[in-house]
């Protein structure tokens, strides 16, 4: 069962990733990318990492929807009503993409993987939290507060009024 799921999700991730470059509508491309990420989230869930898998799905949906807005905003042919190609330098990018894929796959197949030692913790979510918040508490808190302050500041600056109120 897990093997079947693994191959189905892996194939889905690849196919949707390929479609990102084949489809000619910006909107469809965005959601093909989202589908690819969701398949990866499924693979993470298969590893038994419930929290990470679901958070990847949650974050990717939010990110891709926001990205759809920006991608369409900046594209010359947003709706894809006329066929357009998603890649510049088609041959070059295809060579790089396929080359990287082949190199990675050969690496995976050739490396002599060590046998697993130890067992996963009973609650991987707790272990993850402890790894992030235990020794690295200060780093994570600084990062978290910094990121959040950035978001708030960006929103404040991008509102119509700016930070100086109504007087301009």
């Amino acid at each position: 069962m897990e093997v079947v799921l693994f191959w189905a999700l892996a194939a889905a991730a690849l196919v949707f990733g390929y479609l990102v470059f084949r489809l000619d509508s910006m909107a469809q491309v965005t959601f093909a990318l989202l589908a690819s990420f969701l398949a990866v989230a499924g693979l993470v869930l298969l590893l038994g990492l419930g929290y990470l898998g679901v958070v990847i799905a949650l974050m990717m949906v939010i990110e891709m929807v926001i990205m759809a807005v920006f991608m369409i905003m900046f594209m010359m042919n947003p709706a894809g009503l006329m066929p357009m190609t998603m890649v510049h330098n088609k041959v070059g990018s295809a060579v790089i993409a396929i080359g990287t894929f082949v190199a990675l796959v050969t690496g995976i197949l050739l490396v002599d993987w060590p046998a697993r030692e130890g067992a996963p913790p009973p609650d991987p979510t707790f272990a993850l939290g402890e790894a992030l918040m235990g020794g690295q508490m200060l780093t994570m808190m600084t990062l978290g507060v910094g990121l959040f302050a950035t978001i708030v500041a960006t929103v404040v600056l991008s509102t119509d009024r700016g930070r100086y109120g109504d007087e301009r």
Binding site: Q28, G50, Y51, V61, I62, M64, V69, P122, G134
Partner: protein, 311 residues
């Protein structure tokens, strides 16, 4: 270093409940629709949902020129599916269909799928007003989602678990609504917003002739509108295990208390919609960022202090 907590055995219902869940949810939604019709003062309120569904089922589907049918259809279909998947972690009585260890996060992840779905539907019709509706939802998305997330996570914080059955168990002595009233109110408001409902219906508002749903007719509209109602019912039902003690209560069995409490939350949301007009979007976004998010964070901080003090 903290002690690794004992992982509780998943307490899920038998698998065939997965088949029963859509039926249960459908009945709940039907009752909510009847309640809404009663609030609007319509005659023969009990027949309203059935009549409307039948009318849409036999109605013709509208086609638009050069529309993106693929995305439009997927978007419409995602709404009810996301609502159903979100309901899987909902304790129906004492146990849910799927007792995930990260149930709270799963619920939220399924909720935000509505974001993508509404945008896809608005985009799919290749209609200006539809697109305006879709963008409205996306533009307000973060203002809806962030307070919502903080409210949900405060309940998880109070129980020190992301598992819904554990959150319910943690409320045996005192319901979370008493410990974290602010989080409860924020949850209710943002839950209605996540289902773009009541005062938050700008994405499908009348001022843009129905917004994201402007070109939907027939089956497409039935699936979209039905999905939206399902989403609202699930979001209202989720307030019960998060803040209202789940199935706890005297005399009646757990499932009956869940039903009663869900009905009460839904009634409150229905009243909200009939009492208040659509909120101006820029006003709500400002309110969410300047008032709701700081309040929700302060509430989470207070709960964190209580949890640390109690341990």
């Amino acid at each position: 270093m903290g002690e690794m907590p004992v992982v509780p055995e998943p307490a899920a219902l038998p698998w065939w409940w997965a088949l029963l869940l859509p039926v249960l949810l459908g009945v709940g939604t039907w009752l909510a629709l009847v309640g809404d019709a009663v609030c609007s003062g319509e005659r023969a309120a009990f027949a309203v949902p059935g009549r409307e569904a039948a009318r849409l089922l036999v109605g013709q589907r509208r086609r638009t020129v050069a529309g993106d049918t693929v995305l439009g259809r997927i978007g419409g279909g995602v709404l009810p599916v996301a609502a159903l998947l979100a309901a899987a972690v909902l304790p129906l009585g004492e146990r849910p269909v799927a007792d995930l260890s990260v149930g709270v996060v799963w619920f939220n992840a399924m909720e935000v799928l509505a974001w993508a779905a509404v945008w896809m539907v608005g985009w799919g019709a290749n209609s200006a007003l539809g697109l305006v509706g879709g963008y409205r939802f996306v533009a307000q998305g973060l203002a809806y989602e962030l307070p919502h997330m903080f409210a949900i996570i405060t309940a998880a914080l109070g129980a020190a678990s992301l598992r819904l059955t554990t959150i319910v168990d943690a409320q045996q002595d005192l319901w979370f609504v008493a410990i974290m009233p602010v989080a409860f109110v924020v949850y209710l408001v943002s839950a209605a917003a996540m289902a773009f409902w009541g005062p938050f219906d700008a994405p499908v508002g009348r001022d843009v002739a129905g917004g994201a749903a402007v070109e939907l007719s027939g089956v497409d509209r039935l699936v979209f509108a039905g999905g939206r109602w399902l989403l609202l019912v699930v979001a209202a039902a989720m307030a019960v295990p998060l803040f209202l003690g789940g199935g706890a209560g005297p005399l009646l069995p757990a499932w009956a208390w869940v039903a009663v409490k869900t009905a009460a939350v839904l009634a409150l949301l229905l009243w909200l919609r009939h009492r208040f007009p659509t909120v101006r979007m820029d006003r709500y976004v400002e309110f969410a960022w300047v008032v709701l998010i700081p309040l929700a964070i302060a509430q989470a901080l207070a709960v964190a202090l209580v949890v640390l003090g109690g341990a």
